[in-house]
């Protein structure tokens, strides 16, 4: 398809930057044009350019679970369509057993032709707010893959530049939010067109061979950089495991996540074989589109942390090469068709957390204590008779990081493979029949440690009309662990109508619960674990958290051995050293 040629260092640099800029422009178009708040506000999308082997040339800095998954979608599309791909086609795809990440994340791919030959794809994925499953927006307790969504298996919505109106009508007659989905699809198509145009512009300017060779170079570079870091870790197999709440149907039947990380030279293998078998609900993880993506994400993040790696290392195919992931068919991380597998996020988060913890003893300076490793993905919805449509609002709540060597865990932020944005309160209240009543730091002390765990949030949403709630989450059972003497973090909690006689404690997974006007849902997100002995924490740091009203003086004394003079608002240093020496 192209000849690999030498590319001078300046051109390499320019093209590396241009790839990055194309992906970023594609994402910008999608955010700006989109109708659903999960896209325009939360930015729950991915976008990039891929070659005809589905190798990733570049990706937008949006949500990690999206961007890394697109190669899987494209492999699925090519498997289905073979050579039946023409200039002007616009392909829709969401099939989880053909590379899809999960069915709500719909991929739009546009082939890029140059001088009559297919040379690449411009593609993106975006979370469609409803894809016509059994329940509005989110489906945990459903029977199979047909119950979770309308499956789009490499469907050409445009063929050779002509819109297929029958397919379009069928598709949008079978989802609950046709206006949003249609607007979002058009935004995705526009974004791909921008990608195609800009990529062809590069090829016209620099030539196909130079552009593709530069892409090869950047992949090799990323691979080299990652291998160099993996190589520094002693060879061996390192284990960690944890327990998920349940599958959303068989309550309190905990599910194991088992991770064996093997380092061999510059290769790393993540073996998930001893994790739970697949489950009867949608709480399974598509292997290509999600398991692999999360594993790639966490390895890169640990070994080439962007904040501490001096050099710019792009995220591309090269990053994937040193990483092998093992999960036999029938495992929760590699379900068999036609098991439903749309609720896959929490298992991926816990797997990532376990990879971090497995490596704690060999690279204590790079890891965190246990993370929230979770998200509250909550879909609120209701029917609007006059429009014959639903309103559906997906809210993704943040978590918090575990503490690190020399650094407290980060508070109130999307954790690990999640990196979306919150929807403004003023957008929620204005555009949906809902009202937010509270959104701030959780009023509990952070996990004590020499470096304390990150603190998460509390949120309260009220329904103003009849509606449904579906929830995908976890971490109601097992706390994020503390490391090297640090205390564990906190589990999450969901409470309906807290403090009233109608109060209900909810499980972490809810499928299509009915709610009434005035009902309030309180969400308390899990908090990260501490790192190191709390008695060694700098007393001034303890004082700061006290002054900021994260805990009281009694807590400071009990957990940190720090005595605070509550009149002067200073640390009583002599009482503190006395107390600390007694322990």
């Amino acid at each position: 398809m192209y000849r690999r040629v030498e590319v001078d260092p300046v051109t390499l640099n320019v093209l590396g930057g241009a790839f990055n800029a194309i992906a970023s422009d594609m994402a910008q178009v999608l955010y700006r044009m989109a109708y659903s708040s999960i896209i325009r506000e939360s930015e729950d999308i991915g976008a990039g350019i891929y070659d005809t082997d589905a190798r990733e040339l570049c990706e937008s800095a949006s949500t990690p679970m999206h961007v890394g998954s697109i190669p899987g979608y494209l492999r699925g599309i090519m498997k289905v369509l073979g050579d039946d791909i023409d200039d002007g086609d616009v392909i829709l795809h969401n099939h989880p057993y053909f590379g899809g990440s999960h069915s709500p994340d719909v991929c739009v791919a546009i082939p890029i032709f140059y001088e009559g030959k297919l040379i690449a794809f411009a593609a993106n994925t975006a979370h469609w707010i409803d894809t016509g499953g059994a329940y509005p927006g989110l489906n945990v307790d459903v029977v199979d893959v047909w119950a979770e969504a309308k499956l789009l298996k490499a469907i050409k919505i445009d063929e050779k530049g002509v819109r297929n109106k029958q397919v379009e009508r069928f598709l949008f007659d079978n989802v609950r939010t046709p206006t949003n989905d249609r607007g979002d699809m058009e935004a995705q198509i526009a974004s791909c067109r921008v990608g195609r145009e800009r990529f062809l512009g590069l090829i016209e300017r620099y030539g196909l061979d130079v552009v593709m060779s530069a892409a090869d170079h950047w992949m090799d570079y990323a691979e080299r950089m990652l291998r160099a870091e993996i190589e520094k870790v002693p060879d061996g197999t390192y284990h960690s495991e944890g327990w998920l709440d349940d599958d959303g149907k068989n309550r309190d039947v905990h599910l194991k996540v088992s991770v064996d990380v093997t380092i061999e030279g510059s290769d790393i293998t993540i073996d998930l074989s001893n994790s739970s078998p697949q489950v009867a609900t949608s709480y399974n993880v598509p292997f290509d589109g999600s398991t692999l993506v999360a594993a790639h994400y966490i390895v890169r993040t640990i070994f080439l942390d962007e904040a501490t790696t001096g050099k710019y290392v792009p995220q591309n195919e090269g990053i994937f090469r040193p990483i092998t992931v093992i999960a036999p068919e029938g495992n929760i991380f590699n379900p068999r068709f036609p098991a439903s597998c749309t609720s896959r996020f929490m298992q991926c988060q816990r797997m990532a957390d376990c990879v971090i913890l497995a490596l704690a003893d060999v690279i204590p300076e790079r890891v965190t204590a246990g993370n929230s490793a979770h998200a509250y993905a909550i879909v609120y919805s209701g029917y609007v008779p006059e429009r014959q449509q639903y309103w559906v609002n997906l809210e993704v709540s943040e978590g918090a990081y575990g503490a690190m060597l020399g650094k407290d865990g980060t508070d109130a932020v999307d954790n690990l493979i999640a990196n979306t944005r919150n929807n403004p309160i003023e957008d929620l209240d204005w555009h949906y029949p809902m009202r937010n009543l509270r959104y701030e730091l959780r009023p509990d002390p952070p996990a004590p440690g020499k470096w304390r765990g990150g603190l998460s949030i509390i949120r309260e949403n009220q329904f103003l009309g009849e509606g449904f709630v579906s929830i995908e989450s976890d971490r109601h059972y097992e706390k994020p662990v503390g490391l090297f003497g640090g205390q564990p973090g906190m589990t999450g909690a969901l409470t309906l109508n807290p403090g009233t006689e109608r109060e209900e404690k909810w499980y972490s997974k809810i499928t299509g619960a009915r709610v009434a006007p005035g009902d309030i849902l309180r969400i308390e997100s899990p908090c990260g674990g501490g790192y190191g002995d709390a008695l060694e924490r700098d007393p001034e740091a303890v004082l700061k958290d006290f002054l900021d009203e994260l805990f009281d003086a009694e807590h400071a004394q009990q957990y940190y051995g720090v005595v605070i003079d509550e009149d002067m608002l200073v640390v009583d240093t002599s009482a503190t050293s006395r107390l600390r020496s007694e322990r």
Partner: protein, 658 residues
């Protein structure tokens, strides 16, 4: 017209005066006086009057740019601020959008948490709630809680109070009432209300912008007021105009009500001056590198056009500031940047700056720590006897002592290597920013010229251009005053807007006509007050529109100067579809279009700024250009040594002389 541009940098204050009738130009540069910069401004301005032979009252226009606001944010040394906010929402500015700046990182800091604008202990929630869409009061304001909060903040000795309530832009009565209570409890304290700072939805951006306004407000107001009264005292009759982040100017009152719009004021004047200098040298595509004492500003202007940021992408330092802003990057790297070894043993330069007082060690003003300027002096790249054109003498032994005392004990290297290392670190930060803003945005630096100015820009330009393969470097004559010149190289511009939220299919033509007319009246009045004759005034009508359901707007022009008619609306609709098509390659004629804001831009045309071209250069220096030879340290092919280096004066060296 006699026009004066004054740019206050962190270290120096620069002046550019031009008499348009005679073509006379006067330049001046004085040290910035950080405790009260207006002192330096007045001293320098009076010198300019003296040199030009005009009285202070003879100056017709006084344009001012300042990095004071920006430096407060970058150096995290703003006022201690308090916040009164809606109960249940204490941590909005701390949580931000809950998205990490870096995808692939466990160890990153969230800047808005590490240096939070208002400490949690001073973010005080009170019961109140206004709701959408009509702004009804759901929970009345708990006035006793407000009073208690104000007393607590007074006891905490905050210097300013940000009042940030949900939906205050729909109904400001609670925020206004809080201001009344504050005036009763604590008259005179600096107060900003979120609906006045930025009357737009999305609470996190509005709250953060309001807190920024409070964080910098007291310092900036003090300064601007001092300057205005000093001007009056010295007999300057011209009204003070300040450069805003939008590239337009504001009057004194405008600037005082929203100091947050003065962010980037200096840098943008520099960018305008850099574009002007590049164009005069025959380069349309320019990258500007403006290095002062405290910070470096990097701008990329393809075809000589300033790029504006999207309103939700406007940042200052690490904070989201929702104000119209030219796309420019500021980093904490300048001549005064302090070189030090951090807790982790890392050799760092900046962002902390020694500023003008005490300044670099070699300034002999009591500075002890080594700075980038000390490094340049140590390497022989600065002439200690010809600094500021000979108006200041530097002491190299103090630079050396600073390195010996503060860096060498902690670094295992000799003085020359430490000085070279400091320069390399400084230049790497600049190169990184240039790459982020050019290469990473798809602009090939080989198509650009690097226009380097500010006191320290030209010192670093050639090395940076070489490493980034930028083929041409433009150093404007008197590079130190490029920002002051830029202040005069732009038109006066004002921006007036109003939120409408109206469907195009059901327009209220009467209201639109009246609102546009009112905005135009404000703009015209403002420009006339600035001394603009009507033939130099240009008004432009704009509307921010979106397809109903979208979250972002596109700005389109609105035809007709008179009443808004059905035909105007039809062509607005077409214009929006076309703008959408151009921006996103698609349009949706069936979808409803919503007008979100209307806007009038009023421009006051300024005469073109002309400068006499220099002659063509030769490969040998002209007579008198070579002033000295001295030993200067360079690193060539990895080896560090002193080179016998010819020194030529900029005034008589011609282009292409090397």
């Amino acid at each position: 017209m006699k026009r004066l541009g004054v740019d206050v940098g962190g270290t120096f204050t620069d002046f550019f005066y031009i008499d348009e009738e005679t073509g006379a130009i006067v330049l001046n540069k004085v040290p910035t006086t950080p405790t009260d910069p207006s002192v330096g401004v007045m001293a320098g301005a009076l010198e300019v009057c003296d040199m030009a032979g005009v009285p202070a009252s003879g100056i017709d226009q006084f344009f001012h740019g300042t990095t004071i606001a920006t430096n407060i944010i970058i150096e995290h040394n703003g006022s201690k601020t308090g916040m009164i906010t809606t109960e249940g929402y204490r941590d909005i500015i701390y949580i931000a959008r809950h998205k990490r700046p870096l995808n692939f990182s466990l160890r990153q800091d969230l800047p808005w948490q590490k240096h939070v604008l208002v400490d949690r202990r001073n973010r005080l929630p009170v019961h109140e709630r206004v709701i959408a869409p009509q702004g009804e009061v759901l929970v009345p304001l708990a006035e006793d809680e407000v009073r208690e909060a104000v007393r607590k903040l007074k006891a905490e000795q905050v210097e300013s109070i940000a009042v940030c309530f949900l939906f205050s832009f729909l109904n400001p009565e609670h925020e206004l009432r809080v201001r009344e209570i504050i005036e009763e409890e604590w008259p005179g304290v600096y107060v900003s209300l979120s609906h006045e700072v930025i009357p737009q939805f999305r609470e996190y951006y509005r709250f953060t912008t309001t807190c920024l306004n409070c964080y910098m407000g007291p310092k900036v107001s003090r300064y601007v007021n001092n300057l205005a009264s000093a001007m009056k005292q010295e007999g300057f009759g011209a009204e003070l105009h300040l450069m805003q982040s939008s590239g337009g100017v504001a009057t004194l009152e405008g600037a005082l009500s929203r100091p947050v719009t003065l962010l980037m004021s200096g840098p943008i004047a520099g960018l305008i001056g850099g574009i002007w200098a590049g164009r005069n040298a025959g380069f349309a595509n320019v990258i500007t590198l403006d290095v002062g004492g405290t910070s470096a500003d990097i701008g990329v202007a393809p075809s000589g056009e300033m790029r504006m940021k999207h309103l939700l992408d406007t940042k200052i330092g690490d904070y989201d500031a929702m104000v119209p802003m030219v796309d420019i990057d500021t980093i904490g790297a300048g001549g005064g940047s302090v070189a030090f070894v951090d807790e982790g043993g890392m050799f760092r330069v900046g962002p902390r700056s020694a500023g003008a007082e005490p300044g670099p060690a070699c300034y002999r003003r009591g500075g002890l720590e080594p700075t980038a300027t000390d490094a340049n002096l140590t390497l022989g790249r600065l002439n200690p006897n010809n600094f500021l054109g000979g108006r200041m003498t530097l002491d190299p032994s103090l630079s050396e002592k600073a390195f010996d005392d503060h860096l060498l004990p902690q670094l295992n290297m000799d003085r020359v290597d430490a000085a070279l290392g400091a320069i390399k670190i400084l230049e790497a930060a600049m190169m990184n920013s240039i790459e982020m803003n050019s290469v990473r945005k798809g602009y090939d630096p080989r198509d650009f010229a690097l226009v380097a100015f500010g006191g320290a820009g030209p010192l670093h330009a050639c090395q940076i251009a070489r490493e980034l393969s930028i083929p041409a470097v433009v150093i404007p004559p008197n590079p130190g005053i490029t920002s002051a010149l830029g202040l005069l190289a732009t038109d006066i511009a004002y921006d007036y807007s109003k939120t409408e939220l109206m469907f195009i299919s059901d327009p209220d033509l009467e209201k639109l006509s009246a609102d546009f007319a009112e905005l135009e009246r404000e703009a015209t009045e403002r420009l006339r007050k600035d001394g603009m004759s009507d033939d130099r005034i240009v008004l432009q009508r704009l509307a921010d529109c979106r397809y109903f359901g979208q979250g972002y707007e596109l700005r389109v022009g609105v035809d007709s100067g008179g009443a808004i008619t059905g035909a105007t609306i039809t062509s607005l609709r077409d214009a929006f579809d076309q703008a959408h098509l151009q921006q996103y390659k698609t349009l949706n004629p069936e979808s409803e279009v919503q007008i979100v804001n209307i806007r009038v831009m009023g421009f006051g045309g300024m005469p073109k700024l002309e400068w006499q071209p220099l002659g063509k250069g030769k490969a040998v220096p002209v007579d008198g250009a070579l002033t000295a030879r001295r030993e200067v340290v360079f690193q060539v092919d990895g080896a560090t040594r002193e080179f016998d280096t010819p020194i030529m004066t900029g005034r008589s060296s011609l282009p292409a002389t090397r």
